[in-house]
């Protein structure tokens, strides 16, 4: 009995070697899966990791653990996954932070160093201003931004900085950037009048919109949110621009294609899980599944755009 299982184990190990593995895809996963989130707990990349943890465990039949590996503007966690064994048991849950870090050359590698598994969601972002400001819609906001230099609360080099660069690029206005950090501190600085505008997710903005401190001037989504129908889109206010966070799952570059695909299909299935559906609704995230060449092309498009933005606005590290 014992000997037989030993032989079976050796056989599995032998065939699990890269190159041979694809024909034995059903053996995957054969040990616990580690999801690396390169951000601290409580950020949106972290939510995604945790929303999917239980459904993935059920679908893949192996324990799934979420680990926050923080530091270096996500580069520490990204590097850990890039250098992990390419056997499909280490997965990176990431959003555009990886692209901005690479575009700024904080990391010496970019999306090309990974196998892209799937995209699961898009979260549309909003421009938010103080309720006391004279501009309360996108048109008058952009007019004000054109006239003077509005202070934009961002985390320099992070995605909320690049969102402003995209908006500035599209509309020809300029902002004065103030480093206020992530969503929490930035919305506080905005409510206190220490900055004039910020990019926030719907959920980050909501408490201070409800309390009468802030106004959302536009959401950069293709259509209005069902959960918040009187929130006007940028498109209907004359600025045809879509801006969102995308949630991606990546693996080490050399991971066998069959395993990448198995995991992608597991994610697709997990997206139908009632709990995940409910969490997406609650957090105003839109399901947006992509995999394979389509995903690769979308990521490359965004990456090239960010590199161009960084170069044009002189935010590239030397």
């Amino acid at each position: 009995m014992r000997r037989r299982s030993f032989i079976a184990g050796t056989a599995a190990a032998a065939f699990a070697a890269p190159g041979i593995a694809p024909t034995f895809a059903q053996a995957y996963p054969d040990k616990p899966i580690r999801i690396v989130v390169p951000n601290p707990p409580g950020g949106s990349a972290d939510y995604i990791g945790r929303f999917f943890q239980t459904p993935l465990q059920r679908i893949l039949g192996q324990p799934v653990a979420v680990a926050n590996v923080v530091g270096g503007g996500t580069s520490i966690g990204n590097r850990q996954v890039r250098d992990a064994a390419p056997d499909g048991h280490t997965v990176l849950a990431v959003h555009q932070a990886l692209l901005t870090a690479a575009a700024l050359k904080v990391m010496d590698f970019g999306p090309e160093a990974f196998a892209k598994v799937a995209q699961v969601a898009a979260e549309y972002v909003t421009v938010v201003v103080n309720r006391k400001a004279p501009y309360q819609d996108l048109k008058s906001f952009l007019a004000a931004a054109k006239a003077g230099d509005l202070r934009a609360g961002v985390q320099i080099g992070a995605i909320n900085h690049f969102l402003f660069l995209s908006l500035a690029d599209k509309t020809g206005v300029k902002f004065r950037f103030v480093n206020t950090g992530g969503g929490g501190p930035t919305r506080t600085a905005l409510a206190g009048g220490h900055v004039d505008c910020a990019f926030l997710t719907v959920n980050e903005a909501k408490p201070l919109v409800d309390s009468g401190d802030l106004t959302i001037v536009a959401i950069f989504a293709p259509q209005r949110l069902p959960s918040w129908p009187n929130l006007a889109t940028a498109r209907e206010q004359g600025t045809d621009l879509l801006l969102n966070l995308n949630y991606w799952w990546w693996m080490p570059k050399a991971t066998p294609a069959a395993r990448v695909d198995r995991f992608a299909e597991a994610l697709r299935e997990a997206m139908r899980d009632p709990e995940v559906v409910q969490k997406f609704n609650e957090f105003n995230m839109s399901p947006a599944f992509l995999k394979g060449a389509e995903l690769e092309a979308e990521i490359n498009r965004q990456y090239e755009e960010m590199k161009a933005l960084a170069a044009r606005n002189n935010v590239t590290a030397g």
Binding site: G42, A158, N179, G184, A189, P207, S211, D213
Partner: protein, 497 residues
């Protein structure tokens, strides 16, 4: 009204069990060097995801409180802080315990923790609702001035040589610089090493400088046995006279703890250092500090527990955690899509109530457990150090590794263990080092954010009344001890002459 209901909810069987469990586990990891309450909070985060949000909050709050409190045990009995926040408790707790009064030393620490925590609970309940409004007035310059006030203490905190204290403070600042420069998003001082992109983890540096260096120091005297100690726990309950005598010290230290607690990202360790040095500066007998003096233990322990209530105020009102541990609590709330802010009190009164009720109740549970447990805990002092030191080393390595799962953090910890050991040998104080390490990034970030908003002009900083007020206090805190020492040096001279 809501709060009464919240208390009743927390006292019902299953939440109460969570609270007792959380407090107990918190005390245990808090007492163990290397393992911190923060690490346990991070580990328990996934469990709270599937709990009702109020229950998750109860568990995490009680771990937080237990962890901060447990640190005093090993700090007092072994001179090894179980938590970074108990660093200054070693200064007076250990000499007193070693001088034959371990019961009294623990009793002072535990009681001060309870009172400091309770005072911060009052602040949490009474101030939170309008703190959110008040805090909005604070822009980058005000925050910078607030941090600057604490940073000035580097100079006054140095036991012995002011020069050595300033050097230690500057060294702490230097250690905080490598990694991603938050204000420009770019790497600095990494010397091309990829691993340095994350900088030195504050936890690893503090673990190294205080726990590992102490293990190294103790290992050199491992054979040395303690003199027969008084094994009784006489003095574990304080007399009413003690409370009256320490009243002002407890109140002042708690207010300091609450203030530092509200500063974003500054943990309880800075609170207790600031409260201790303030108590020493204002004392009529500053020379008694460091020799096993009541006031030193009380100041340190009331401040670090007061930090917990303070750190929760901006967390629930603004979504800005006041300490690293509070940021994990915040993550637990966010994962339930409970967004902190002025509307939290109306949108999720059950969560706010659970947080407030469990903050107070876990302090009471902590007091009961620690007083009862002291009988066994105090025996730790009799276990030969040769058995304990390797275990502590192992725990430190696990603690450093657990934070981010990186071996680099372990190497950082070991390196700073040697650095801390050498600094001790050169009698360079480590308090200013920690202050520099933790506060410099905050001061830098706030000042540079302010300068970005004013397009590089520093003058608006001096046109803001709140900021100017803080600077005035900072200057007073800097000048007062120097002036006092000067006067004291002069008085005996005139008497002699």
């Amino acid at each position: 009204m809501d709060l009464v209901q919240a208390f009743l909810h927390v006292l019902s069987p299953s939440p109460l069990l969570l609270l007792l469990l959380g407090t107990f586990m918190g005390i245990v990891v808090g007492a163990l060097p290397g393992l911190t309450g923060g690490a346990l909070l991070a580990l328990s985060l996934p469990f709270t995801y599937r709990m009702a949000s109020a229950d998750g909050v109860i568990l995490m709050t009680s771990i937080y409180v237990g962890g901060i409190s447990g640190g005093l045990i090993t700090a007092t009995l072994m001179r090894i802080p179980g938590e970074p926040s108990a660093v200054v408790t070693t200064l007076d707790g250990f000499p007193m315990a070693r001088g034959g009064r371990p019961g009294r030393a623990l009793g002072l620490g535990i009681s001060a923790s309870l009172i400091g925590g309770t005072l911060s609970w009052l602040a949490l309940v009474l101030l939170s609702p309008w703190m959110a409004r008040l805090a909005l007035v604070f822009g980058p310059f005000e925050n910078f001035a607030l941090v600057f006030m604490a940073l000035v203490l580097i100079a006054t905190l140095s036991q012995g040589s002011v020069t050595k204290g300033l050097l230690a403070g500057l060294f702490g600042m230097l250690v905080s610089y490598p990694g991603v420069d938050e204000t420009s998003g770019q790497l600095r001082l990494t010397y091309g090493f990829d691993e340095m992109a994350g900088g030195f983890s504050q936890l690893s540096v503090i673990l190294g400088a205080f726990a590992v260096s102490q293990v190294l120091g103790d290992a050199m005297h491992a054979r040395q046995r303690f003199d027969r100690l008084d094994p009784s726990l006489r003095g574990i309950f304080l007399s009413p006279g003690d409370y009256i005598k320490q009243g002002w010290n407890i109140l002042r230290s708690s207010i300091i703890g609450i203030w530092i607690g509200m500063l974003p990202g500054v943990g309880a360790s800075v609170s207790s250092i600031v409260a201790y040095s303030t108590a020493k500066n204002l004392s009529k007998t500053p020379e008694k500090f460091g020799t096993g003096f009541d006031d030193g233990i009380v100041a340190a322990e009331s401040a670090n527990n007061a930090n917990t209530g303070g750190a929760l105020i901006p967390m629930i009102t603004l979504g800005i955690p006041g300490s690293p541990a509070a940021s994990i609590l915040l993550a637990a709330l966010l994962m339930h899509n409970i967004q902190p802010g002025p509307t939290l009190f109306t949108n999720s009164p059950d969560v706010v109530g659970a947080l407030m009720a469990s903050h107070l109740l876990s302090h009471i549970a902590m007091y009961g457990m620690m007083i009862l447990g002291c009988i066994w805990i105090a025996r730790l002092m009799y276990v030969p150090r040769a058995y304990i030191l390797p275990a502590i080393m192992v725990l430190c390595v696990i603690g450093a590794l657990a934070e981010n799962g990186r071996l680099f953090d372990v190497w950082t910890m070991l390196a700073f263990g040697i650095v801390g050991f050498l600094l001790e040998l050169a009698s360079v104080p480590l308090g200013p080092f920690v202050i520099g390490l933790i506060l410099a990034p905050l001061a830098e970030g706030q000042l540079r954010a302010g300068l970005m908003a004013t397009d590089g002009s520093i003058w608006p900083l001096f046109q803001r009344p709140i900021a100017v007020g803080f600077f005035a206090v900072a200057i007073a805190m800097f000048v007062w001890p120097l002036w006092r020492d000067l006067r004291r040096q002069r008085t005996p001279a005139t008497q002699n002459g």
